[in-house]
C-alpha cells in the first residue's frame, strides 16, 4: 500500500498499532479516540477526541499517531481535535473490555444515561465489580478516582488484591 492509495480502513489499521500510553493493552482505535481519517495525496488528517478534558496522555497520543503514519510514508499529517460527540466508554468493544480485564483492569459497565446524579456513590459503581484477578464479586469500590483520569480504585476482599476499574463515562 502506498500512502496515496490508503483508505480509511488502512489508516485505522495502522493506528490500531498505536497504544494508549496509560493503558498499553488498548489501541487508540479500540479506545474510540480516533474518530476519522481523511487522505488527500500523501497528506492525511486524523480526527481525535479526548477521553477526559485534562487527559495528559493526549499529546503523547498525537505524537504517537504522527510517528506511526510517518513511518508508513505519509508526508503531511494533521491531527485535529473534536469535542462533539463527547467520548464515552460505551465505544469500547466487548473484545476491548476483555483485554482490559485480562490486563488487570475491571472493564466499565454501561455509561450512565440519565441526567440525574445520585448524590452518593453511583449506582453503577455500587454494582458488584468483578475482581480481574480471582473473578470474585466480593469487592469494594474504594474511590471513584484513580491513578489516571479514566480509572477508579477497588479492592477484592476475597483475594485481598487492590485493582483498578475503568470508569464508565
Amino acid at each position: 500500500m502506498s500512502a496515496a492509495d490508503a483508505t480509511r480502513d488502512d489508516i485505522f489499521e495502522i493506528l490500531d498499532a498505536v497504544k494508549d500510553p496509560e493503558v498499553p493493552v488498548l489501541s487508540v482505535v479500540e479506545l474510540g479516540i480516533v474518530r476519522g481519517a481523511r487522505v488527500e495525496g500523501n497528506a492525511v488528517t486524523i480526527t481525535v477526541t479526548p477521553t477526559y478534558s485534562g487527559c495528559p496522555a493526549m499529546r503523547v497520543i498525537e505524537e504517537d499517531i504522527r510517528s506511526a503514519l510517518l513511518s508508513h510514508g505519509f508526508g503531511v499529517i494533521h491531527v485535529e481535535t473534536v469535542y462533539a460527540p463527547a467520548w464515552t466508554t460505551d465505544w469500547l468493544s466487548t473484545e476491548a473490555k476483555q483485554k482490559l480485564e485480562a490486563y488487570g483492569i475491571a472493564p466499565p459497565g454501561p455509561a450512565p444515561r440519565d441526567s440525574l446524579v445520585s448524590l452518593t456513590r453511583s449506582p453503577a459503581a455500587a454494582q458488584r465489580l468483578r475482581c480481574p484477578y480471582c473473578h470474585s464479586l466480593e469487592t469494594e469500590l474504594r474511590s471513584e478516582f484513580g491513578s489516571t483520569a479514566c480509572k477508579a480504585i477497588a479492592y477484592c476482599t476475597k483475594c485481598n488484591q487492590p485493582f483498578e476499574v475503568f470508569k464508565a463515562l
Binding site: S53, G54, P56, A84, L119, E144
Partner: protein
C-alpha cells in the same frame, strides 16, 4: 469593538462579550483547579490526594480548552497559556468563591460541593450552546462534573454525620463560604448577551436547582445554612480578594520568569 454575527441564531453578540463570557467559565476552572492542586501530597488520605488531583486535572483541562476558544475568538495573538499565565489578577473573571484559600479539608470539600453542583448545571445548559465548540466542551464537562458532585456530596455527608470535630469543621466551612455563593448566579450584561445569542446561558436560570440540591445535601448532613443577608461579589468584574494575587504569583512564576520557554 468588532461586531460579531452568530450565523446559527442570526442574533448578534459582540466578540468581546463572548471572550468575556468564556473567561468567566475558564477562570473559575483554572483558579479552582490550582487551589485543588495545592492538596497534592497533603490530603488526609492517599485516595483523597489522588481524587483531588484528578478533579484539579479535569478543571485545568477544561480551562485549557475554554481559554483556547477565548484566544481564538479574541484573535490578539495570545494562546491559552498566554491567557492563563500572563494576565494579572484584575483581568481574571472567576467568582470569588474559587479563589479563597484551600483552608482545611472541610472548606475544600464544601466549596467543591457548592462549585461542582453549579458547574454541572451550567455545563448541562451549555450543551445546547449554538457554538459547536462550547457545546462540545460542555458535553464532556458534564460527565466529569457528575463525578465531582458525587465525590463532594459523599464527603459532605460523611463529614456532617461523622465526628464532633468533622461536623464542626464542615459547619464552619458552610458558614465561611455561603456568602460567596450568591455571586455565582448574578447575571450582568455579559451573561445576558451570551444568553440572548444562545452562545451561553444566564446563571440565574439554574439557581433554584442549585439551591434545592445543595440544601438537600446540607440538610441530610445535619449542617445549617447561615442566615446572612450580604453576599460577596466582584470577581466577574475583576475585583478580587487579596488571595487571588498571591495564588497567581505562585501559579505564574515559572511562565513569567522564562518567557517563551519550551521543553
Amino acid at each position: 469593538m468588532t461586531a460579531f454575527t452568530n450565523a446559527d441564531s442570526g442574533k448578534s453578540a459582540r466578540s468581546d462579550d463572548r471572550v468575556e463570557y468564556l473567561l468567566r467559565l475558564a477562570d473559575d476552572r483554572l483558579v479552582l483547579g490550582h487551589r485543588l492542586s495545592e492538596w497534592c501530597g497533603h490530603a488526609p488520605i492517599l485516595e483523597e490526594d489522588i481524587a483531588l488531583a484528578n478533579i484539579a486535572l479535569d478543571l485545568i483541562g477544561q480551562a485549557n480548552l475554554l481559554l483556547g476558544l477565548a484566544a481564538k475568538i479574541e484573535s490578539r495573538g495570545r494562546d491559552a497559556d498566554g491567557l492563563a499565565y500572563l494576565r494579572d489578577a484584575i483581568d481574571f473573571r472567576n467568582a470569588l468563591l474559587v479563589e479563597l484559600p484551600k483552608g482545611d479539608f472541610g472548606v475544600t470539600i464544601v466549596r467543591q460541593l457548592f462549585y461542582a453542583v453549579f458547574a454541572m448545571l451550567q455545563a448541562e445548559a451549555l450543551q445546547r450552546s449554538t457554538d459547536q465548540d462550547v457545546a462540545g466542551v460542555a458535553a464532556k464537562a458534564v460527565k466529569e462534573f457528575r463525578y465531582h458532585v458525587r465525590h463532594s456530596a459523599d464527603w459532605v455527608l460523611k463529614l456532617g454525620a461523622g465526628t464532633t470535630e468533622s461536623h464542626a469543621r464542615a459547619q464552619n466551612a458552610v458558614n465561611e463560604l455561603w456568602p460567596y455563593t450568591g455571586e455565582l448566579f448574578l447575571a450582568d450584561d455579559v451573561d445576558r448577551a451570551a444568553a440572548e445569542s444562545r452562545f451561553g446561558v444566564d446563571p440565574s436560570e439554574f439557581e433554584s436547582s442549585w439551591q434545592s440540591t445543595v440544601r438537600d445535601v446540607l440538610a441530610r448532613a445535619g449542617l445549617a445554612i447561615p442566615e446572612t443577608a450580604y453576599m460577596q461579589r466582584g470577581g466577574r468584574q475583576g475585583r478580587h480578594t487579596e488571595h487571588l494575587g498571591h495564588m497567581l504569583a505562585e501559579m505564574q512564576i515559572v511562565a513569567r520568569s522564562h518567557p517563551g520557554a519550551s521543553w
